[in-house]
């Protein structure tokens, strides 16, 4: 790590658009006393353009995003959205030949680092059980961050597993613009997933680390009558379960 780190936090449209996600992330950053430059509060990373097939039209937009970040003069950047994360790490260099000149981390990696450095500490809940939903963007479609989030959560509660998890974890249904194109289908997928994978796990807490997964699983859980579930994006969950100094 460089001596004088200037950390950027890229919020991403989905987090910015959902007040509780935004509060969760900001709440975490405040509680953990992180100095950061806020980025991407009014500027999309550009991934929806790629998902919509607008590769050609995305060129000018990503240049604008690059300028926004370069002007901020940051040395490292964190985002809690797996899709923004993939866009910066893969889309920018591979599709647009843009090297940002700093490293982009996902929030999961950042949380692991803070825990390891003793900068944050989680409250231990002896009887709390949680399940973790693997977002595709940092899982099988990305760097395969499956163990990392579980290890973060394990310092706080017992993590129980669905039959199909990690690389084979079932999808929440919220990606690929499906929540925009066929919202009821997206939510039905989340409901099905929760019933199949989580209903008999003896827990009502689902933690994930993607704003899309969080929103879609929350909507899916809302349609389940057998049991109430609380769905958390990782920053929200950590903010609520952090030891205060």
């Amino acid at each position: 790590m460089p001596d004088k780190e200037k950390l950027g936090v890229f919020f991403g449209c989905t987090t910015v658009g959902a007040p509780h996600l935004l509060e969760g992330l900001v709440g975490f950053l405040v509680k953990a006393r992180i100095d950061y430059v806020p980025l991407g509060k009014d500027l999309c990373c550009g991934v929806p353009l790629l998902l919509a097939g607008y590769h050609r039209e995305a060129g000018a937009h990503v240049q604008r995003v690059k300028k926004h970040m370069v002007e901020a003069g940051i040395t490292r950047m964190v985002t809690s959205c797996p899709h923004c994360y993939l866009m910066f790490r893969e889309g920018f260099p591979n599709d647009f030949g843009i090297e940002l000149g700093f490293e982009t981390m996902h929030f999961v990696e950042f949380a692991v680092e803070l825990l390891n450095q003793g900068k944050i500490k989680l409250k231990l809940h002896k009887d709390m059980k949680i399940v973790y939903h693997d977002p595709c963007g940092i899982g099988r479609r990305g760097p395969g961050l499956h163990q990392e989030p579980r290890s973060v959560l394990a310092s706080c509660a017992e993590v129980v597993e669905a039959e199909r998890a990690d690389k084979l974890g079932t999808c929440c249904g919220g990606g690929g613009l499906l929540r925009a194109s066929l919202p009821k289908l997206a939510v039905a997928a989340a409901k099905r997933k929760i019933i199949d994978d989580y209903l008999n796990k003896g827990t009502d807490i689902i933690v994930t680390s993607c704003p899309f997964c969080t929103l879609n699983l929350t909507d899916g859980a809302g349609e389940i009558t057998e049991r109430g579930f609380n769905v958390f994006d990782l920053p929200m969950f950590l903010a609520e379960n952090m030891e205060e100094e």
Binding site: C13, C44, L50, A52, H55, R140, S181, R192
Partner: protein, 434 residues
């Protein structure tokens, strides 16, 4: 890629098509029968497949070898077709090359003519030709002999899964439609229903003029088609009538007999079978030389074998560095059963080909870009099917590529366009209202 989209499609047409599709999908979501049937099918498929893969762990290595073989074939498709045709002709079969569905239908019309009865084995490739309605239009009678397809045919519906076409039909509906055919009340007992179909179809095989089939593989060295099944109908349909006609998509080509054996093993296991009851290997018409060594064709099996190789966009797909991957598909059905979306709506998400892999197949092979446009936005792009697919096909990646082609052809539904334009114009997909 452009050929399929007709310039006439306006934004309004696309929006209309998308809205009609959305209504259909939302209706399917509310269908409780469909839900129960698919839940049962999905959970038994998963169990069977896990068991098959656990019992034969070496299949993983064979799968990798198979992919190398398939990729080589895909890169040299035209050569392999030529070799397979040569082999078949040597075996006294007649072969044909159909560049598209209408060419295939013309060839079929020539071979089959009119006033014939056809017993048909399950073939998704035949859906590309709309075989049944084509044959009926030309004055022929078609009997589907696969039990699931038979049910679908009687109901006048379309297949909803590539392995289990009637996956969405509860037994009560089957009993009802069988009762109509039988002219008496049929019980809802699956065994009794199956026995009825067995009795009903039995003499059809022997009175039919033509047996029609597809194939799971066909080899270039010997011209041997492999047909995998459990019911035994394919054996009857391809053996009892005088004439056997097969339509085979180019992606079914394999270099040699032993390669096809490898494919067979991989396909069975990934489709959830330890082994299937039957595999037919057919390389030519029936023949004998038992009387003074003089070869006579049509000993006990068909006297004639006609094999039509169907391109219908496959060669073009094979030349595209992205799309060629879709030709690896073995039609094991795993991706559909394991998908987060497909089991909610079954084949309503699809045209002739269904689910995630069905989207590029619809765009390039059967349906065209316009038909594929609404389907392309039903995938959450999670990539789970790639992990499950024996052929390692990344359907999500193919669908992303297709969305680029749809954009280029102006086939983007309105709400997607609006969102994209918001990003371009305001910087975010959710612009603040001032």
């Amino acid at each position: 890629m452009s050929g399929n989209a007709k310039g006439a499609e306006t934004t309004e047409d696309i929006n209309k098509a998308f809205n009609a599709y959305k209504r259909k999908i939302y209706r399917a979501l509310k269908d409780d029968f469909l839900k129960t049937a698919l839940e049962r099918a999905v959970s038994s498929f998963r169990k069977n497949r896990d068991a098959a893969l656990a019992a034969f762990p070496e299949v993983e290595g064979k799968r990798e070898r198979l992919l190398e073989i398939k990729d080589e074939v895909i890169c040299n498709l035209a050569d392999y077709v030529a070799r397979a045709r040569e082999a078949l002709e040597r075996n006294h079969a007649k072969t044909y090359y159909a560049s598209d569905a209408s060419a295939a239908n013309e060839i079929l019309a020539d071979i089959i003519g009119t006033g014939k009865t056809i017993v048909k084995a399950k073939s998704i490739t035949s859906e590309e030709l709309e075989f049944n309605s084509m044959m009926e239009e030309t004055g022929n009678l078609v009997w589907e002999t696969d039990l699931g397809e038979f049910i679908i045919q009687l109901l006048g519906e379309k297949p909803m899964h590539i392995l289990a076409p009637a996956v969405h039909v509860p037994r009560e509906r089957t009993a009802k439609v069988f009762s109509e055919v039988a002219g008496r009340e049929m019980p809802t007992d699956p065994e009794k229903l199956t026995m009825f179909a067995r009795e009903f179809l039995r003499d059809k095989y022997f009175s039919a003029d033509v047996g029609f089939s597809g194939a799971n593989f066909i080899t270039a060295d010997t011209g041997t088609m492999f047909l995998i099944e459990n019911e035994g109908n394919i054996r009857f349909a391809t053996n009892a009538p005088e004439v056997h006609v097969a339509v085979i998509g180019l992606e079914k080509l394999m270099p040699s007999l032993s390669d096809a054996m490898l494919g067979l093993e991989v396909l069975m296991r990934y489709a959830g079978y330890l082994v299937t009851s039957y595999v037919s290997m057919i390389s030519g018409p029936a023949k004998t030389g038992d009387i003074e060594k003089i070869t006579v064709y049509g000993a006990h099996g068909p006297r004639e074998l006609h094999v039509i190789f169907l391109d219908n966009g496959r060669l073009k797909a094979a030349r595209d560095p992205d799309y060629r991957e879709m030709l690896r598909c073995l039609r094991c059905g795993a991706c559909m059963y394991e998908c987060a979306i497909y089991p909610l709506v079954s084949g309503h998400w699809g045209y002739h080909y269904m689910g995630g892999i069905g989207v590029p197949w619809t765009a390039l092979i059967s349906g065209g870009l316009t038909k594929a446009a609404p389907l392309a936005y039903s995938c959450a792009l999670c990539g789970r099917c790639k992990e499950i697919c024996p052929a390692g096909i990344d359907s999500a990646k193919l669908i992303e590529r297709l969305r680029r082609d749809l954009k280029r052809e102006g086939l983007v539904p309105g709400f997607i366009r609006k969102m994209a334009e918001a990003v371009i114009n305001t910087g975010t997909p959710y612009p603040k209202e001032d």
